[in-house]
Subunit: 320 residues, 2 copies
């Protein structure tokens, strides 16, 4: 109702810019002037210069990194006071709008842009080769200590600490790839990530256990976790994965990309059958011999599915 009272606030845009390099999910990290910690590329939103967020985002990303963005999606807007707090910084009144962007990197070698594998920051999210040992070795012991201090305290949804720990980390069978943000937030709330120090929430356990993944500046790791969860979810009902693939690819490469994003291995035949019956790709007729074995047929995305079945995603239900 009232538009009279104006509180001046700075709005900035922060992007998790994702690419796949050699079957690894990577994000573009900014050159941090201080060099201390990785950060996502981020810049102020200037409403005078840019008509919309997305235009602004595309512009400074191109300027600063040279990366042309393909698919872009808004994630979440973070307005917490203190989220940008640094030593000596009081209440900066910054609202930041997080974005997910997908891009293609021509090849790993001709690209000295600072891409980093995203699992360096969230190692407990990568279940491809095995259940990440960090979970049993560090995370669960620390979380259990934390939960035991107040096991029944319910959060906003009426779930106790014990229940949340079990749901998010101990129940391997129901470990859900899309809950990356919930897992990060639980670790944050328990004071087990470096970022919690700035907030005065750091647990003594953090020093015993050692760091859980590499921290990032500000709350960028939270934005990354949001991006990962969103991309994992979206991939299942929209053909966004092709924004990360070259124009022609093998089915195995497609599967490896799906696995890289979801952090789990998939069942080969079922993955292929799904892709085939969903008619989401078509053979180009070409073959590649760079396989180390039998040559593989190349496929391309069938753009027609965008009109036929806009909800065509990639089945990621089945472990390999």
């Amino acid at each position: 109702m009232s538009h009279d009272q104006r509180t001046p606030i700075e709005v900035n845009l922060t992007a998790a810019i994702v690419a796949i390099v050699e079957d690894e999910p990577m994000i573009l990290v900014a050159d941090d002037a201080t060099g201390r910690m990785a950060a996502l590329p981020s810049g102020p939103f200037d409403p005078v210069a840019h008509r919309t967020f997305e235009i602004g985002l595309r512009e400074w990303v191109r300027e600063q990194t040279g990366a042309p963005l393909g698919y872009v999606e808004q994630l979440y807007t973070f307005g917490d006071r203190g989220r940008n707090a640094q030593a000596g910084d009081r209440d900066p009144h910054v609202v930041s709008v997080g974005y997910l962007a997908l891009t293609r990197v021509a090849s790993e070698s001709d690209e000295r842009a600072p891409y980093r594998g995203w699992y360096a920051f969230l190692p407990w999210e990568d279940w491809r080769v095995r259940k990440p040992p960090i979970i049993e070795e560090k995370i669960l012991p620390a979380l259990e200590t934390w939960a035991a201090r107040d096991p029944d305290r319910p959060n906003a949804y009426g779930l106790s600490r014990t229940e949340r720990v079990r749901m998010l980390f101990s129940d391997d069978k129901n470990f859900s790839d899309e809950n990356a943000l919930d897992r990060y937030q639980l670790l944050y709330e328990a004071g087990l990530v470096e970022e919690a120090r700035r907030d005065g929430r750091a647990s003594p356990l953090i020093d015993e256990a050692g760091p859980l993944g590499e921290p990032m500046r500000h709350d960028h790791r939270r934005i990354l976790a949001t991006a990962i969860g969103r991309l994992r979810a979206k991939m299942k009902y929209r053909p966004v994965i092709f924004e990360l693939m070259p124009p022609a690819f093998t089915l195995t490469a497609l599967q490896r990309t799906a696995e890289a994003i979801s952090g789990r291995t998939l069942h080969k035949q079922n993955f292929r059958r799904f892709v085939e019956t969903a008619a989401v790709v078509e053979p180009t007729g070409e073959f590649t011999h760079h396989t180390g074995g039998r040559p593989a047929a190349l496929f391309r995305f069938r753009r027609e599915v965008l009109q036929e079945r806009p909800a065509a995603g990639l089945r990621v239900g089945v472990r390999g």
Copy 2:
């Protein structure tokens, strides 16, 4: 990277506050001082007074409307220049963060809060009694004229006007309840909603066809469409619908609520079987006789499902 350049911007919070009254989905509309047009409740975000968006939102909603909010979810942040443009208003630099909130209204009568049925604003979204006649009578003729002016022009996703019209409005079989925002945006882009006038996008067709649904101030109808689409989607994989139900309810009332939100009728037996096998509710043992027929068993939400299967939604796949 650079946090030096600060552009002062006003941030406001706008909420679609949803309740179900007599099987109708309603939203709280603000008392508009001008009285000309409905608006969503909205207020400035003051980072000095409120630590987070959600705290700020809950506070002024309670102050202004007396409604205590239950479930709250951020929808989207709109930063378009001109989105708040009114006659005489130049470039107000307002960023607005849209929220969805779910609440329970004790009963229709003891509540003089201005709730309005949401389908008054988006009548083409209500397929419960029949396919909304407005689609064939007004929307499709106007959209087809619009598409014919430039049938092949592709949008950002490579889809032509013709294709988008077909996907969103003419293909009844694949009409997807979750795409409420896409449908509204298409009408906006085609200049067929009142709100497009402010932007200079109004089509001459708008005067021939007459208004398509009741307009709202600013871009509140876009926020409402976002809220509806998100709630329809979320309902399918999270038990959020119970935030709208009283503590005890009949299965028919639950089904009517699901239908009200999704805008379609559901298949009775399959709905019930699903609710039962998902074990998402349990009988209270009580019965209500206010049915007009055989008394109905009362059920309550099983809060345990939050830990057992956090992804327990309500199947809304089957037409009645």
